[in-house]
Symmetry: C2
Subunit: 163 residues, 2 copies
């Protein structure tokens, strides 16, 4: 005997349908999907932690690498970070405007500029690295110290994919 | 005795300066940077492999998950994949236009639509999963079978960061 469903029954079925978890196994079993989800989670967490310092992941990378390699050319820093030149130039404009980094004339090549942190930039990098260390501690809490080391090694190998 | 440098000496020094590798250790030692570099490499490799099928990583994810979960709502699929609703609607428009997926009326809820693959969509997913399997083999070649399993587990944990 076919009974017509009540509205309440239909709503209950709809809720049950919504609650049933989706089968994502075809994606969680391939590297690209969890890699992207993890990267988004880590960057979102980074943005949360760095909101007070007003630093994006790319800006943090640039400041840290300029600090560790003072006097190197804009094109070298951009190339090492894998940032397109126009994007890097725009980022340097912003960092210079904020008084964190500067472009200096080079003695050997009049056309290129050497990058360096200002004193304010160096002070910000020191603060930022302490904030970053807190994220690394949280990562270690999630996957362990050894797990974190293995992850870094695996990611470095994966970055060679297709090259 | 201070000798003035010749142009050739200056050029040689400039070249030597360019050749000297940058110190990136402050970035390679934190998870976010190699994670992003690896994700970009894997997606670039994906785009190369999938150019003939004209599928982006997001389109591949959507088709595979619709195929594994036929009849589920648009909002559920978008939510599970972490894709913003307007972006997902635009992607479904495109997949529907290409005859790969369709939005069907649901018996229980007149306002929502259930998603399903068309026959052409199901055939494309079968081909695409074979292409994807080749990328996974390449990943295994780089980091080993066990390394790949450990990586998937670590990435799944990392995706919980900040939640």
């Amino acid at each position: 005997m076919a009974a017509r469903k009540t509205k309440a029954q239909s709503r209950a079925e709809a809720r049950a349908g919504e609650a049933a978890p989706l089968d994502l196994s075809a994606l969680t079993a391939i590297v690209g999907y969890p890699l992207r989800r993890a990267q988004l989670a880590v960057f979102e967490d980074f943005n949360h932690r760095f909101a007070a310092l007003e630093l994006s992941p790319a800006q943090y990378s640039a400041l840290v690498i300029i600090g560790a390699n003072p006097g190197r050319k804009q094109s070298e820093i951009a190339g090492a970070l894998g940032i397109q030149r126009p994007n890097f130039v725009a980022m340097m404009d912003e960092l210079e405007r904020r008084g964190l980094a500067e472009r200096l004339r080079t003695p050997t090549d009049r056309r290129s500029r050497a990058l360096a942190l200002t004193a304010a930039g160096a002070a910000l990098v020191t603060r930022a690295r302490r904030v970053q260390a807190e994220q690394e501690e949280e990562v270690e809490r999630l996957i362990g110290r050894e797990g974190r080391e293995q992850l870094l090694a695996a990611l470095a190998r994966l970055a060679e994919l297709g090259t």
